[in-house]
């Protein structure tokens, strides 16, 4: 079971702030691809964190049960 959290414009597309996904044994990139498809996120730009740490290389990151993934788009308002 993975926990995924959404922020900013990403949360608007997903219409939820977070969810639990019954997935396992996939790379971070695979998860991102699934979410992009599911919620039509391709047009958005965001960074990704796992367990409160930013991750740059999504392909080589293998997710484990209870990992918390966060999709962080940049905010621009001021």
């Amino acid at each position: 079971m993975l926990s995924v959290k959404y922020f900013g414009a990403v949360a608007e597309k997903t219409k939820v702030q977070g969810e639990n996904l019954p997935v396992s044994n996939l790379s971070l990139q695979e998860l991102v691809d699934e979410l992009e498809q599911k919620y039509d996120l391709a047009s958005l730009s965001y960074s990704i964190a796992v367990n409160q740490k930013l991750v740059q290389d999504k392909n080589s990151y293998l997710l484990m049960t209870n990992d918390v993934v966060a999709l962080l788009p940049p905010f621009a308002g001021g």
């Binding site: 959290k5 922020f7 900013g8 414009a9 958005l44 730009s45 960074s47 964190a49 409160q52 740490k53 930013l54 740059q56 966060a70 962080l72 788009p73 940049p74 905010f75 621009a76 308002g77 001021g78």
Partner: protein, 355 residues
């Protein structure tokens, strides 16, 4: 005594107050974020605060930019902000800059101040601030809002991560408050978080949000912090910066000695010799002046900017440097003579072949 209530804090004391008094902070943007940041930095006694914004006050600003008055609609934000801050604390210095931050003024400004505060409302300027901070080796306090959520972090602080380490993709099109909407309190809270970072940095107390992104949600008071590390270790030189933002032309305009001499009798042309007095051969030209390269910047008033200035030195290298200097100031019609005085002499003596 004005600062008594903070001086009695062990973390501040007289020493801390002195640090605040010596600090120079630049707030980029006098909108929602700036309106929260400025008063608290002024109140705390930051010795010199710059505020840069070329906007005028509009009625729709007043639901969140709480330092402005209803009867000041139409007036300059930077100037009104300065007046507010000085009437709150007349003992500090406020520099109001009625301009937009751009690639031309960013580096000179950042060189002057110790800490920059990003109170802007667009991504492009955030990347510009980041790059200029990397060039000048200064930290900046990042803040941004999206509806009821805000982000805060401190970048380029003591060799910490930069904004590009967090958001390397510059192509994003995140919306600002005009498009998405915002409550005054939301942008106010984030601005105060930013002011808090500035004070921690100046006083050297607490934990600065360097290497950490704070995301705060006003609707449920959820606060999250995400760790980030420095990924982008390449430094940017001033030249790289200027090339990237197209500040100066990449190639120095060069013309041949032949072409230059064709203009010998043209009264709109001025020949500038940037060698030292004692260097030979002297080239005899009607409309000419000699200013050694090392003295050039201080003597620009001797040059008529309306003329086309053709610069030469001994062989064509120093003259290119001179052209770069002149273009920055800005002289628009400047050219460097390839081959310098040596080539000119050759051509004049009739021995030259066109290059």
């Amino acid at each position: 005594m004005r600062y008594n209530r903070q001086i009695i804090l062990p973390e501040v004391g007289e020493k801390g107050q002195e640090k605040l008094g010596h600090a120079k902070v630049l707030i980029i943007g006098a909108g929602g974020l700036g309106a929260a940041i400025l008063p608290y930095l002024a109140a705390a006694g930051i010795g010199e605060i710059g505020i840069i914004d070329d906007d005028s006050i509009e009625i729709s600003n007043l639901q969140r930019q709480v330092i402005y008055k209803s009867d000041a609609i139409g007036k300059s934000k930077a100037l009104e902000a300065k007046e507010m801050a000085l009437s709150l604390n007349p003992s500090i210095q406020i520099n109001a800059i009625t301009d937009t931050l751009n690639a031309k003024n960013a580096i000179p400004l950042f060189e002057y101040y110790d800490i920059m505060v990003d109170a802007t409302d667009n991504l492009h300027t955030k990347y510009l601030i980041n790059d200029a901070c990397v060039v000048t080796n200064k930290p900046f306090v990042y803040g941004s809002i999206y509806k009821f959520q805000g982000q805060v972090s401190v970048f380029n602080y003591q060799n910490g991560p930069t904004y590009r380490c967090l958001f390397p993709d510059e192509s994003s099109n995140s919306k600002n408050c005009v498009d998405s909407g915002v409550m005054g309190i939301s942008v106010g809270i984030i601005g105060m978080f930013q002011a808090n970072e500035v004070l921690k940095m100046v006083l050297e107390i607490g934990n600065v949000l360097s290497g950490e992104l704070l995301i705060y949600n006003m609707l449920n008071n959820d606060q999250q912090k995400f760790d980030l590390v420095k990924t982008n270790t390449t430094s940017i030189s001033r030249l790289d910066f200027e090339k990237k933002y197209n500040v100066v032309e990449n190639t120095v305009l060069e013309i041949t000695a032949n072409e230059a001499l064709e203009q010998m009798e043209n009264p709109d042309v001025l020949f500038l010799d940037v060698r030292n007095e004692e260097e030979l051969p002297k080239v005899s030209l009607l409309n000419s002046i000699q200013i050694p390269l090392s003295d050039l910047e201080e003597n620009l008033d001797q040059l008529d900017a309306n003329k086309t200035i053709m610069v030469y030195c001994q062989s064509g290298i120093r003259s290119k440097k001179a052209v770069e200097i002149l273009k920055k100031h800005p002289f628009l019609k400047v050219q460097s003579i390839a081959g310098g005085a040596l080539k000119l002499e050759e051509v004049i003596a009739g021995n030259a072949v066109s290059i």
